[in-house]
């Protein structure tokens, strides 16, 4: 699978790494049982901090997409991002857009509350 990160983008590097994995899952490039590259290797190749990679892996684990096992690294457990993961992506996109147009978090939350009402 292909990992791409753009340090010039406003999206945090960790989110970009997680997005690469989600995209590979959606396109079936990654299948359950396959391993993701070790965090150290990914960090060194992409020139990012290892904690950034670990944060991305932790987010994917929380979404139920991968499992982090001691000694075995990150293993894919789900075929495609679930609804919650899709929502997390959408929220990230909303946050990035809000930042770009200068909207604060409170304003965005208020808009979401309004949409819920």
């Amino acid at each position: 699978m292909l990992f791409r990160v753009d340090p010039g983008s406003s999206t945090p590097l960790g989110d970009q790494i997680a997005a690469c994995v989600r995209s590979a899952l959606v396109s079936a490039t990654l299948k359950p049982g396959e391993r993701l590259p070790p965090a150290r290797e990914l960090a060194s190749s992409l020139g990012v901090n290892m904690h950034t990679v670990l944060r991305a892996y932790a987010a994917l684990r929380d979404e139920g997409l991968i499992e982090l096992r001691r000694g075995r690294g990150a293993v894919v457990v789900s075929t495609a991002p679930d609804e919650r993961a899709r929502l997390a992506d959408a929220v990230r996109e909303v946050a990035a857009t809000a930042r770009r147009i200068g909207m604060g978090a409170d304003e965005v939350v208020a808009m979401i509350r309004e949409a819920f009402a």
Binding site: M1, L2, F3, R4, V5, D6, P7, G8, T29, E34, R35, L36, P37, E41, L42, S45, L46, G47, V48
Partner: protein, 328 residues
């Protein structure tokens, strides 16, 4: 430790030490061995035929020395191979020499040890089970040491020039960093390893029941070979802006990106895959199965082929990385 010292240790010192120790031990045993030892039968069974001990030792040690020298000749002849294949061929020569010398020396000691202090072939005992089981472990350890001593190859390839303008490229943003990572478990080899364990277990039971408990470890030795099969059941391909790295189990190749002129994608059919090593040189192809492959072309005209699930994308990515590196 520099590479020359590594080769000397792996090809000369390691087999030399094993052979020297065996020769010393066997000559120390000379007075304690009978003139003839069983060829067929022996142990708990009647002796059907025998062979002379002294010629066996002389021929055995001479054959092992001959194999060692043959390995050394193969090692030196490897310099005639294309540059990317030299280290690979030398590693194989060193590995084969270390494992064969250890196996044959161990086998000689395994045959002679039960005959110690026996006055006739009938008194020769069955080889001890711990020794018989320990031999394959020693052979594997010698192989692992030879591999470790061979180390990784420094590419030795010249820096590549400008990539051709017509090479297919992948769209990359300025400053964008990429990593291609592919990891495959070769299921047929995993199944083969499971088969080896099963065959070994059956052999241990059959030999144990029909020939005696002393022969059961032979089956266990067969089961142990599954470790080697399992070791080569994993394939990895990693490409970033620094290098192309390919590995099948412990066999690894690394090509700095600066040495890659350009990359192309193609398909390796079953026939080409089976004969690739013979036709294009050993160590120039590492594809776990027939299918899409990426061919790297170096500045000296040599090449290397690696298996890849999405060869078109990867070849374009390598060309883009090379182009960006060259124009930077």
């Amino acid at each position: 430790m520099n590479q020359v010292l590594r080769w000397l240790t792996g090809l000369v010192l390691l087999p030399g030490a094993v052979l020297g120790t065996t020769a010393a031990v066997v000559s120390g045993w000379a007075d304690r061995l009978p003139e003839r030892i069983p060829n067929k039968g022996g142990g708990d069974r009647p002796v059907l035929s025998t062979l002379a001990t002294e010629p066996l030792i002389t021929t055995g040690l001479a054959a092992i020395t001959g194999l060692w020298l043959l390995g050394a000749v193969a090692f030196f002849l490897a310099r005639r191979l294309p540059a990317p294949a030299v280290h690979w061929a030398r590693t194989v020569a060193q590995l084969v020499v270390a494992m064969l010398v250890t196996a044959l020396c161990g086998a000689l000691l395994l045959i002679l040890a039960p005959a110690l202090d026996a006055r006739s072939p009938e008194e020769v005992r069955t080889p001890s089970a711990p020794f018989a089981t320990g031999l394959p472990v020693a052979v594997l350890l010698a192989g692992a040491l030879a591999l470790a001593l061979a180390g990784r190859r420094s590419s030795g390839l010249p820096a590549a020039g400008a990539p051709p303008a017509n090479a297919v490229r992948f769209p990359l943003a300025t400053g964008e960093r990429v990593l291609w990572s592919e990891h495959r478990v070769l299921r047929p080899l995993v199944w083969a390893a499971a088969g080896q364990v099963l065959i070994g277990a059956i052999m241990a039971v059959v030999f144990g029941l029909s020939l005696g408990a002393g022969y059961a470890p032979i089956g266990l030795a067969v089961a142990l070979t599954a470790v080697a099969t399992l070791a080569i059941s994993r394939y990895r391909l990693v490409v970033d802006e620094h290098a192309v790295r390919v590995a099948t189990g412990p066999f690894r190749r690394e090509f700095p990106m600066t040495t890659v002129e350009y990359a192309t994608s193609s398909r390796l059919n079953a026939g080409d895959w089976l004969t690739a090593g013979v036709l294009h040189g050993y160590g120039t192809v590492m594809a776990p199965a027939p299918g899409p492959v990426v061919r790297l072309v170096f500045a000296d005209g040599s090449g290397f082929t690696a298996g890849c699930e999405d060869a078109d994308t990867l070849a374009a990515l390598i060309n883009s990385l090379r182009h960006r590196q060259y124009t930077a």
